[in-house]
C-alpha cells in the first residue's frame, strides 16, 4: 500500500488535467482510483465515434457532447464523493491565466498538439507549478516531468515542427504517395471546392493561354450551365493530362528523374464506362449530405481495397459530380475534413491517379484517409500504461521526491527485456529561450518583409505565442487584446501592413525587439539582422530565427526543408502537412554532449520521431549510465551504475 506520506500528499492535492481524450480518460480513472479527491479537467473537444475504441468513459449516445463533462460524470459514478470540475473550453483561453494555474499542486497534460503543450508549459513555468507531460502513438508512449529550475522545461529541447514539403515536390516532382495526397488535398481539392480567392500553386491555365499570360482562362471556372460530367472530364484531362505534358516539356526537371506519363479520360475510361458512370449514380434520397458517397454506385465496398487506375478515375469523376450536383451550396467554402466521406474519396482518387502517372504505388482509401487526415493510430492499452506512469510521477512530484523523477519511455518492442525505459531528467537548458530568457537572432529582409509576416511566421508559429506584444525599445509596435481603444487597434492594423523599416519606430539591422505574451508570461529578445536574399526553396519564409539548439531533422531526406540553422522548417502555406494532430508523441533525444548524461554512442543519434526511439534504445543498452529498475524492486529503489 502507499505510505502514509504518499496518501496524505494525494488526499490534499489539487490536480489539473489538460485533455480528456485517449490519455485523459485513463488518467482520470486512475487518479480517482488512486485516491485523488480534487481534480480539474479542461478539454475543448466533443466526442466522436472513432474515440470510442479507447476513450472508455464515453458511449455511442454521448457522441457530440463535451468530453470533459461526460468524463466527469462517468467517473463520479464509481467515485461519487470526489470533486471533479470540468471545463469545456480551450486551455489557451484567457480565463486559464497564471493565477489559475497557481492554484494547483501539479498539472498533468494529455494533449494532442504541440501548440497547446507549449502554451501550458509556459503557464506552468510562470506559475511555478510542476508539469507532467505525456504522449502516445500506437504502441509507443512517454511520460516526462518538468519542474522549473530543476529539470528541463518542455521546450528546452525543441520539438520538430509539423512535416512540410517543398512546393516543387508537390506541384511538379512527387516521389512519394504522401506528396500526391498533399497535392490532391491542399491544391486540387482546395482549388475546386475551397475559397475562390485563395492563393494556389496549381497550374490553372488552359491551353489557350499564351505564355505571356495575357489571356488566362481559368479552366477551373465552371461556366453556368456547363454539363457537370463534361466539366469533370475537362478537369481530369487538365490536371492529369495537360499539366503533365507541360511539366514534361521542361527537360531539365527530368534529367535524373523518372518521367511521369500524362493520363487522359479517354485512355482510362472507354466511352461506354463514361456513360455508365453517369447512369449508375444512385441519388441519396435522404438528403443527408454527409452520406453522399461515390463508392456504392461503382460497386466499391471495402475501404481497404486497392482500386485500379480505372476505378480511381471513376471515383474521381463520380465524386466531383456528386459535389456539384448534391452539395453545390458548399462549394467555395469547403475545407478538407477527414470525416467527410466524399472528400476523402475524391482526394484518394486524385492522389492515386497522380501517383499512377508518376509511377508511385497506389494506396487504399483507408491508407489515404490516414495520410490526408493526419490520423494518429491509437489503442487503449498504451494510454492505460502511460496514465499509470503519469500518476506515479505525479505522486513523486507531490512529495518533492526530486531524485526519483523519471522520464519514462514505453517501447514497442522490449529492449533488454524491458518495455519501459526510465531515464533521469536533465537540468534546464541554459540557452532555452522559454525558461532562461536567452536572446534570439532573426535574419530578415527589413525592407521587404512586413510586420504581419513577422507576427505570423515567427511570433505565432515559431515562438508559439498566443496574444503577443511587440516592442521596439519603448515603442509598442503591435499588441492584441480586448481592452484596446479603437485608434490603437487601427494603428496596429496599419503597422501590420508596413515593411519593418517603415514602421513608426523603424526596425532595421541591429534593432532589438522585445516580444512578450502576457498570458504565458513569456518574454523574448530578438536581435534583428538584415539580409537581402533568401533561398526560395530552402528558406521559403524569407526569414530565419536562430539561437537555440537545432531541432533534429524530421526526415533525413534532401527533399525536406528542415535542415537550415535552427529554423525548424521552411513552411509553405499551401503544402504543410502536419503530423501531430491526435495524441501526438514527441520523443526528442537531441544531444548536446555535456549536459546529456548518456554516453557518446547515443549522442550522435538525433532522433525525433517515434519510429526511431527503437534505435536509440538499442544504443542506450551499451551505456552504463542509464538508470534501470532492478527486477523485483519497488519503484523507489534504483541502481545507477557508475560510468
Amino acid at each position: 500500500m502507499a505510505s502514509e506520506q504518499q496518501l496524505s500528499a494525494i488526499k490534499g492535492a489539487k490536480v489539473l488535467m489538460v485533455g480528456a481524450g485517449g490519455i485523459g480518460c485513463e488518467l482520470l480513472k486512475t487518479l480517482a482510483l488512486s485516491g485523488f479527491r480534487d481534480i480539474h479537467i479542461i478539454d475543448m473537444d466533443t466526442i466522436e465515434v472513432s474515440n470510442l475504441n479507447r476513450q472508455f468513459l464515453f458511449r455511442q449516445s454521448h457522441v457530440g457532447q463535451s468530453k470533459a463533462k461526460v468524463a466527469r460524470d462517468a467517473v463520479l459514478k464509481f467515485r461519487p464523493h470526489i470533486s471533479i470540475t470540468s471545463y469545456h473550453a480551450n486551455v489557451k483561453d484567457p480565463e486559464f491565466n497564471v493565477d489559475f494555474f497557481k492554484t494547483f499542486n501539479v498539472v498533468l497534460n494529455g494533449l494532442d498538439n504541440l501548440d497547446a503543450r507549449r502554451h501550458v508549459n509556459r503557464l506552468c513555468l510562470a506559475a511555478g507549478v510542476p508539469l507532467v507531460e505525456s504522449g502516445t502513438t500506437g504502441f509507443l508512449g512517454q511520460v516526462t516531468v518538468h519542474v522549473k529550475g530543476r529539470t528541463e522545461c518542455y521546450e528546452c529541447q525543441p520539438k520538430p515542427a509539423p512535416k512540410t514539403y517543398p512546393v516543387c515536390t508537390i506541384t511538379s516532382t512527387p516521389s512519394k504517395f504522401v506528396h500526391c495526397v498533399v497535392w490532391a488535398k491542399d491544391l486540387l481539392f482546395a482549388k475546386l471546392f475551397g475559397a475562390k480567392d485563395q492563393e494556389n500553386d496549381l497550374n490553372v491555365r488552359s491551353s489557350d493561354a499564351s505564355s505571356s499570360s495575357e489571356q488566362v482562362e481559368d479552366v477551373f471556372e465552371r461556366k453556368n450551365d456547363e454539363d457537370i460530367e463534361q466539366y469533370g472530364r475537362k478537369i481530369f484531362d487538365h490536371v492529369f493530362g495537360y499539366n503533365i505534358e507541360l511539366a514534361l516539356s521542361n527537360e531539365d526537371t527530368w534529367k535524373n528523374r523518372n518521367r511521369p506519363r500524362p493520363i487522359y479520360c479517354k485512355d482510362v475510361m472507354p466511352n461506354e464506362l463514361i456513360r455508365q458512370n453517369g447512369n449508375q449514380a444512385k441519388s441519396s434520397a435522404h438528403g443527408d449530405l454527409s452520406s453522399v458517397s461515390a463508392m456504392p454506385s461503382l460497386g466499391l465496398k471495402n475501404p481497404q481495397d486497392l482500386w485500379s487506375l480505372k476505378e480511381n478515375s471513376a471515383v474521381f469523376l463520380e465524386a466531383l459530380k456528386l459535389f456539384f450536383s448534391k452539395r453545390e451550396k458548399e462549394i467555395g467554402n469547403l475545407s478538407f475534413d477527414k470525416d467527410d466521406q466524399l472528400a476523402v474519396e475524391f482526394v484518394t482518387a486524385a492522389a492515386n491517379i497522380r501517383a499512377s502517372s508518376f509511377g508511385i504505388p497506389l494506396h487504399s482509401l483507408f491508407e489515404a484517409k490516414g495520410i490526408a487526415g493526419n490520423i494518429v493510430h491509437a489503442v487503449a492499452t498504451t494510454n492505460a500504461i502511460i496514465a499509470g506512469l503519469i500518476v506515479i510521477e505525479a505522486i513523486k512530484v507531490l512529495q518533492n521526491d526530486t531524485k526519483n523523477y523519471r522520464m519514462t519511455y514505453c517501447l514497442e518492442h522490449p529492449s533488454r527485456k524491458m518495455l519501459l525505459m526510465p531515464v533521469e531528467p536533465f537540468e534546464p537548458n541554459k540557452s532555452c529561450y522559454v525558461c532562461s530568457e536567452t536572446p534570439l537572432t532573426l535574419e530578415i529582409n527589413t525592407h521587404r518583409s512586413k510586420l504581419r509576416d513577422l507576427v505570423d511566421k515567427i511570433v505565432k508559429a515559431k515562438l508559439g505565442m498566443n496574444l503577443p506584444l511587440i516592442m521596439h525599445g519603448s515603442a509598442l509596435l503591435y499588441e492584441v487584446g480586448d481592452d484596446l481603444e479603437e485608434d490603437e487597434v487601427a494603428n496596429y492594423a496599419a503597422n501590420l501592413e508596413k515593411v519593418l523599416s517603415d514602421l513608426p519606430s523603424p526596425v532595421v539591422g541591429g534593432t532589438i525587439l522585445t516580444i512578450e505574451d502576457l498570458q504565458q508570461e513569456l518574454k523574448c529578445s530578438i536581435n534583428v539582422k538584415h539580409r537581402e536574399e533568401f533561398d526560395e526553396e530552402n528558406e521559403p519564409d524569407g526569414m530565419i530565427l536562430s539561437g537555440w539548439t537545432q531541432a533534429p531533422a524530421v526526415e533525413k531526406n534532401g527533399a525536406t526543408s528542415v535542415d537550415n540553422g535552427a529554423s525548424t522548417s521552411g513552411v509553405t502555406e499551401a503544402t504543410s502537412l502536419a503530423i501531430e494532430e491526435d495524441d501526438e508523441l514527441q520523443i526528442i533525444t537531441t544531444q548536446t554532449g555535456k549536459k546529456r548524461k548518456l554516453c557518446d554512442a547515443a549522442s550522435s543519434d538525433v532522433s525525433s520521431v517515434p519510429t526511431k526511439i527503437k534505435r536509440k534504445a538499442d544504443e542506450v543498452d551499451g551505456n552504463s549510465d542509464v538508470v534501470m529498475l532492478d527486477e523485483g524492486s519497488s519503484e523507489n529503489s534504483k541502481k545507477r551504475r557508475e560510468p
Binding site: 482510483l33 465515434v49 475504441n53 458511449r59 459514478k77 464509481f78 481497404q304 490520423i375
Partner: protein, 178 residues
C-alpha cells in the same frame, strides 16, 4: 461479428486500432472467446481493454459479493448500494462491460472454477485467471492443455507495486518482421 468482412460500423469504431494492428487481426479478434475469472484490479483493466478491442465474447466468473476492498480498484461497479446489493462481482462487471462495447457478447458463468470440466474450457480461445489458489490455477491449466485446440492460458496477480503474469501458449509459432 459473423462473416468475413468487418461491418461499416466496426470499421468506423475500430479505425484507430485497425491502423495499429491491421484489419486481419481485428477480424480474428472478433471471433475470439475469452474466459476471465477473478475480477479485481489488473483483471478489470484487462476486461476493459479486451472489450474495447472488440473481442468476440467475454465470459466472467466471480461469485463474490461486493465489499469495500473489492470496490477499491474496480471502476466497473457503480458506487450505489441499491445497484450492487445482492449481485455478484461477475454480474455487475458484466452489466458495465456490455455498455463499453455493445458488439461484444459478455456473459456470466456461476460456480467454482475447479469444478468445471475439460469440455467447458473448449469453448474458449483464452483463459485468464486471478485471485485463486495455485492448485486451482494448475488444475485449470492442465485441463486446457488436454484439449485438442490450443487454449492460451494466463494468470495475473498484483500486490502493491509488484505484479506477475504467467503465460502458457503451448506450441506458439510467430514470425518477426524486421
Amino acid at each position: 461479428m459473423d462473416g468475413e468482412e468487418l461491418t461499416e460500423h466496426e470499421t468506423a469504431l475500430y479505425d484507430r486500432q485497425i491502423r495499429v494492428w491491421g484489419a486481419d487481426a481485428q477480424r480474428r479478434l472478433s471471433k475470439s472467446h475469452i474466459l476471465v475469472s477473478g475480477l479485481k484490479g489488473t483483471v478489470i483493466e484487462f476486461c476493459k481493454n479486451i472489450v474495447l478491442a472488440g473481442v468476440g465474447s467475454v465470459t466472467l466468473i466471480d461469485d463474490r459479493l461486493v465489499t469495500e476492498d473489492l470496490l477499491a480498484a474496480n471502476f466497473l461497479i457503480p458506487a450505489d448500494e441499491n445497484v450492487y446489493a445482492g449481485k455478484s462481482l461477475a454480474e455487475l462487471c458484466s452489466d458495465s462491460l456490455k455498455d463499453f462495447n455493445p458488439m461484444v457478447r459478455v456473459s456470466v458463468e456461476k460456480g467454482e472454477l475447479s469444478s468445471f470440466s475439460v469440455d467447458f474450457f473448449d469453448k474458449f480461445d483464452v483463459v485468464v485467471l486471478s485471485s485463486c489458489s495455485r492448485s486451482t490455477k494448475q488444475s485449470v491449466n492442465e485441463k486446457c492443455r488436454k484439449l485438442l485446440k490450443r487454449v492460451a492460458f494466463y494468470t495475473v496477480d498484483c500486490r502493491d507495486s509488484c505484479g506477475e503474469i504467467f503465460v502458457d501458449l503451448q506450441n506458439y509459432i510467430y514470425s518477426k518482421v524486421k
